[in-house]
């Protein structure tokens, strides 16, 4: 296993789990200058403007396939950045859009992707204010890559480290359906489930003041983001197997492909912690957007993320390792 000793970047390091964190750490060590920016390890970095706080985020998108039931790479690219700002408690004010397009990419497909970006921009009122477009030789990239950056303003930042013992853990709807739609089309399964890809800005703004921690479970899924909240908040999260926010199709596909459903990314959902006294009220509001919003667990003293199983045992929910590969034996 000689060439595993860190000479090359490995695919597993892009999966959103432990190995991604190691890679990010290796990259970040070259940038010691931080100045007045805060939250540089969160979904967005924060700059204090005095009365308000500026939140800045960026994300690169590669998706296979680029069109899938419920969305396309463009919709993910704009929603992803809007959502990264939203989970920090910010109202997005402007987005930049950079495209790298492979020579020979169909204009019709480009049009469809731009239309879906335009549609979300219109619906959310978040403008695309600047951008860049490059075309590369055939084979240098896979079809199209999109990078979006965004800025937003917040009066109060929702910290990932703010969860407290006694809080309730909530999900804004069923999780992982983006992954179900994608994996189904990649491995030739048929299902009615569509990607959950959508902007979260209105949902989060409606209840932002109650949230003690908030994340959107994209890469690494709910397993990764709840572990992050637990670690940063120095608390333990317990989920109940009987209250899990998964559709029966998600459970089935997870079983069929042998991939843990807790690691399935969503592109239009968030999980958060709220004080127990506010939990019912928050869920009522969220159910106006998505009737599947619910309380999925509790926060206690301790550490890690645990699942209380139907049989009464406790199972640790780990940060996912490596990439999502179906396994057989």
């Amino acid at each position: 296993m000689e060439n595993k000793n860190n000479k090359f970047v490995e695919l597993e390091q892009g999966g959103g789990g432990n190995m991604s964190n190691e890679l990010i750490f290796e990259i970040r060590k070259f940038f010691p200058v931080v100045k007045n920016w805060k939250n540089i390890k969160d979904d967005g970095a924060v700059f204090d403007l005095g009365k308000e706080k500026l939140v800045f985020t960026t994300d690169a998108f590669i998706v296979d396939p680029i069109f899938f039931p419920g969305g396309d790479i463009g919709k993910i690219a704009i929603c992803g950045t809007i959502n990264d700002l939203s989970v920090m408690g910010a109202v997005p004010i402007g987005i930049s859009l950079s495209l790298v397009i492979e020579d020979g990419f169909p204009k019709d497909d480009l049009k469809k992707i731009m239309q879906s970006i335009g549609k979300i921009s219109k619906e959310t009122g978040v403008p695309i204010v600047t951008g860049d477009t490059k075309v590369t030789e055939k084979g240098k990239i896979d079809k199209i890559e999109i990078t979006t950056s965004g800025i937003g303003l917040a009066s109060k930042i929702i910290e990932n480290g703010g969860a407290k013992a006694g809080d309730a853990v909530i999900a804004s709807g069923n999780l992982g359906e983006h992954t179900v739609a994608l994996l189904a089309s990649r491995f030739n399964y048929q299902t009615k489930i569509k990607s959950d890809c959508q902007s979260l800005t209105k949902e989060i703004q409606s209840i932002a003041r109650y949230l003690t921690a908030c994340k959107d479970p994209t890469r690494g899924g709910v397993a990764a983001v709840l572990n992050e909240i637990a670690e940063k908040s120095k608390i333990k999260i317990i989920l109940n197997e009987t209250d899990l926010p998964f559709a029966k199709e998600t459970v089935a596909l997870s079983g069929l492909l042998g991939i843990d459903k807790f690691s399935f990314p969503s592109e239009g959902r968030f999980v958060a912690t709220v004080a127990k006294k506010d939990a019912e009220k928050v869920i009522k509001v969220l159910q106006r957007f998505n009737r599947k919003a619910k309380i999925i667990g509790t926060v206690t003293k301790g550490n890690g993320v645990w699942l209380k199983t139907k049989l009464g045992g406790e199972k640790k929910i780990e940060v996912p390792r490596g990439k999502l590969i179906p396994r057989i034996c």
Partner: protein, 346 residues
């Protein structure tokens, strides 16, 4: 379901107290180990019951020499198709994943029928066939449909026999595999004089099997019971068995950890030798074998597979052997004992 669980658990508690001596049950199938870990079943057991994992993870028991040969074939330019978790198993030279990174044509497939399709465009494609009776039937079907195969397929009962022969291993009962039994039936297990229950894969299924094992011990009547009748028939799946033995014949096989076990392997019959990679690439394989330099390793996979030691007793465990950088097969497969101990252990 809650009521059922509580009822079974209290039965287990009651019987374990009555028996009042330490009991060791071995689950033979990797998916049962997974179920036990996933539901935290070990914690629910009375103090005198311990559950140990057996050699039922197909990737884990695949011998180093088979990995080395297939890696060798790949490096000599032969396209290889494999099931996903075979990729990372370390060989003496490298894993298939590393061979792929070095430019070899190694493809992950989900179902062997994909390999049959690929073979139409890549006629020299070799499928690395591994697994027990469950996957052997599919491989037999694929061979009948034109696929060339390197067979490391194994039969399950001879491994159980080998475990029982080893006097160092003390066991009070087997949880027999679910899908293997669906193919081979339950009658074949009757020759083993130890309490056995064929179980399904839900948490309740496994608890039920443990309760039934305890029942057999209390009555002092070791036998084979079937707690998975909704799937497993007494005589197994006759159609699949016929397909397996039309294409394969019984031979010896090397198991990681257990060594060579007589009559435990499936060799491709002469009738299909043109699709037997060991026949087609005979000279190349000889060449590869000569080049293999066996690296000594402190990996204790072999003992872990037999339930002789716990994963944590291996000096490599968690230190230089982790799921990200596995040194042994038991850490590679998500059904491997070491991998599970690493992920679920407290």
């Amino acid at each position: 379901m809650r009521i059922t669980t509580n009822k079974i658990l209290s039965e287990i508690e009651k019987k374990a107290t009555q028996i009042d001596r330490p009991l060791r049950f071995m689950e033979l199938c990797g998916t049962h180990s997974q179920t036990i870990a996933e539901h935290g079943i070990k914690e629910l057991m009375p103090k005198n019951i311990s559950l140990v994992s057996g050699p039922g993870c197909p990737v884990c028991v695949t011998d180093q020499s088979d990995i080395d040969i297939v890696v060798g074939l790949a490096l000599f330019g032969i396209p290889i198709a494999v099931y996903g978790d075979t990729m990372q198993v370390p060989g003496n030279l490298m894993s298939l994943e590393e061979a792929k990174r070095n430019g070899a044509d190694v493809r992950i497939i989900y179902s062997i029928s994909e390999a049959v399709e690929m073979q139409k465009e890549k006629p020299n494609l070799v499928f690395f066939g591994l697994g027990f009776e469950t996957t052997s039937g599919m491989t037999a079907w694929a061979i009948k449909n034109g696929l060339t195969v390197y067979s490391a397929h194994k039969l399950f009962p001879p491994a159980m026999e080998a475990l029982l022969r080893n006097k160092k291993i003390k066991l009070d009962g087997f949880i027999d595999p679910g899908h293997v039994s669906a193919i081979i039936g339950t009658e074949v297990f009757q020759k083993f004089e130890i309490p056995q229950v064929v179980a399904g894969f839900s948490g309740e299924d496994v608890l039920l099997a443990i309760d039934m094992l305890l029942g057999q011990i209390l009555e002092n009547k070791p036998r084979v019971e079937n707690a998975y009748e909704r799937l497993v028939k007494k005589g197994g799946n006759k159609k699949a068995l016929a397909m397996i033995f039309e294409v394969f014949e019984v031979g010896n096989a090397k198991w990681r950890g257990l060594g060579e076990i007589k009559g435990s392997g499936l060799k491709i019959r002469k009738k299909y030798q043109k699709q037997d990679a060991q026949f087609v690439h005979k000279k190349l394989i000889e060449k590869i074998k000569k080049k293999i330099k066996i690296k000594p390793s402190a990996c204790k996979c072999g003992e872990v597979l037999q339930g002789l030691i716990e994963p944590k007793a291996c000096p490599l465990f968690g230190k230089i052997c982790t799921p990200e950088n596995p040194k042994g097969a038991c850490m590679v497969s998500v059904e491997g004992s070491c991998n599970m101990e690493y992920r679920y252990g407290k």
